[in-house]
Symmetry: C2
């Protein structure tokens, strides 16, 4: 990298911790830092300032800028945070301006899932793709859309809310409508679905054993482990999850026809237990014009997608 | 227009007739021509050649180019027709090349619904919008997507197939999947739904009267006329149609967050009978972040959207 001695700082602002990384132009992480999330804006900036000292130690070249991925609604163009989910004291914060004033560095502020999408598309599973959709499976279902090599944000920076795409017009209600896919495949929903099948009389021994015998400890991971052992109920639960996801992915394919969907997040760690039935259901749900042209990829950057993506955005790479 | 004496030719290639127009830079139509659709490519080019003579008579300035909107799958970048729906003899046709060779004019070839979307967004209801979604309601449900002022075509020129967006993962089957919205709101589906409610014992007198007493003549228009008279069943049928559409529109909103949806096609002629319940269902189906920021507009160009849009595409205006 001596021919291009520059770097960007990526900051992945999570509900419990804030992860920072110094990221080189090829997407590799040269140094890391982390601190616990605290409520106020000024104390957050203090903690960033402290973390930047070891992070920049020994760095060659200049810092291009800072990218921050946050859990909430932002105005990307203005570098402005409208509101954060589950982090008090972060309403109407002009964070890019504050970072520039305090550190003398240009900054971009992005929604956390868009930041992960930017990372995967710049340096991960979607490297080289022009049109792709990133999906993260966890508590909810998040999405980030890449169009023509750039993150697509829509008219008011809120595009890509894939978790609210309806898979059943008369389905489960939420403040976002009816039948949103995350009402079926969010972490807690998968666990509740597995337990409801056990309660209805199906054999849940393998799932409960993976959960240490405690109903409250049934998670998608416990179900996936049981499925990997061949447990029929656990496999059927993941088939249901895959089918719900396939319904949403097929709908989004008909709208956007991306080159690929890139799927990450905890539930995707189930691997073939999820991806094999997902492909089978997609073939059933997509026409012969669409299915053979669509790639389903597993995210490649894991928990680093956020910091790498923030750095990519700060470097105008996505 | 003396300061910019130029024009484009728009050709709306339909299954039964081919409509041509000479379109000025402000989107107005200066002259029209039409001929019946015939099967072969060469006879089609002969008919276009004949139609161009009166069409260009008296035209000022030079012809910028020709845009053709066709009912089928195209490769926009190559000006190539893969296949047309319901028009024999049009497989693998390099039409842009043929038009250039025959008439010495640059040509663009587009899917008919994308052409209408281009027309509405360049000169119709969506004038001035950067991100919008056009929906046409007829035999099926077609869609065209405008992103950043340009028609978005996806990875293989097939994006915008809104009719196949699922509103029910276990819904009506078709070769495109399960529960595609056009399985509920296509012309014949609306008529069949109305008749099924009559067969189930509801009072269909007003609808059947509008259909001249013949079950086979029940159409969305007949139902709309009955609804305009206040018939409860007819109003309920349109409420159902509006709710199915709202489910799809809400899903697409969560994906793309366009500034507006522009709705055209025969079923949209029902006017308030459709649009009033559509807005009510959208409010129910969209979060408070999305609903107040979304406009639902009625298409403004009617049957001219196609030729005007083709001319806009030939002029690189969409």
């Amino acid at each position: 990298m001596t021919s291009n001695p520059s770097y960007a700082i990526g900051i992945d602002f999570g509900g419990t911790s804030v992860k920072l990384a110094r990221v080189l132009p090829d997407g590799t992480i040269a140094a890391r830092a982390v601190f616990d999330t605290t409520p106020g804006v000024e104390s957050w900036l203090d903690a960033v300032e402290a973390a930047l000292v070891p992070l920049r130690q020994g760095a060659e070249g200049e810092c291009i800028g800072v990218g921050v991925g946050v859990p909430g609604f932002v105005d990307f163009d203005r570098g402005f945070i409208h509101d954060l989910t589950n982090v008090p004291g972060w309403t109407a914060v002009p964070l890019a301006e504050k970072i520039r004033a305090r550190f003398g560095l240009p900054a971009v502020i992005e929604n956390d899932v868009n930041a992960m999408a930017a990372g995967e598309c710049a340096f991960g599973a979607g490297k080289g793709l022009k049109n792709a959709v990133f999906i993260t499976l966890g508590t909810g279902v998040g999405g980030g859309i890449l169009i023509d090599g750039k993150i697509y944000r829509g008219a008011f920076s809120m595009a890509g809310e894939l978790g609210h795409v309806s898979i059943d017009k008369d389905g489960i209600a939420s403040p976002m409508g009816f039948g949103g896919v995350e009402q079926y495949v969010g972490n807690a929903k998968i666990a509740a679905y597995a337990l409801s099948r056990i309660d209805a009389g199906e054999d849940g021994a393998a799932i409960l054993r993976q959960a240490g015998g405690r109903r409250g400890a049934v998670t998608p991971k416990a179900v996936a482990l049981a499925a990997q052992e061949g447990d029929p109920l656990a496999k059927s639960v993941f088939d249901h999850v895959a089918d719900c996801l396939a319904t949403m992915i097929a709908s989004v394919s008909y709208v956007l026809q991306p080159e690929a969907f890139i799927i990450g997040g905890g539930v995707s760690n189930a691997g073939d237990i999820l991806f094999a039935p997902l492909n089978a259901h997609l073939e059933r749900r997509l026409s012969a014009h669409f299915f053979p042209r669509l790639k389903i990829l597993r995210a490649a950057l894991g928990n680093d997608a956020g910091v790498i993506g923030c750095a990519a955005l700060a470097s105008h790479l996505a």
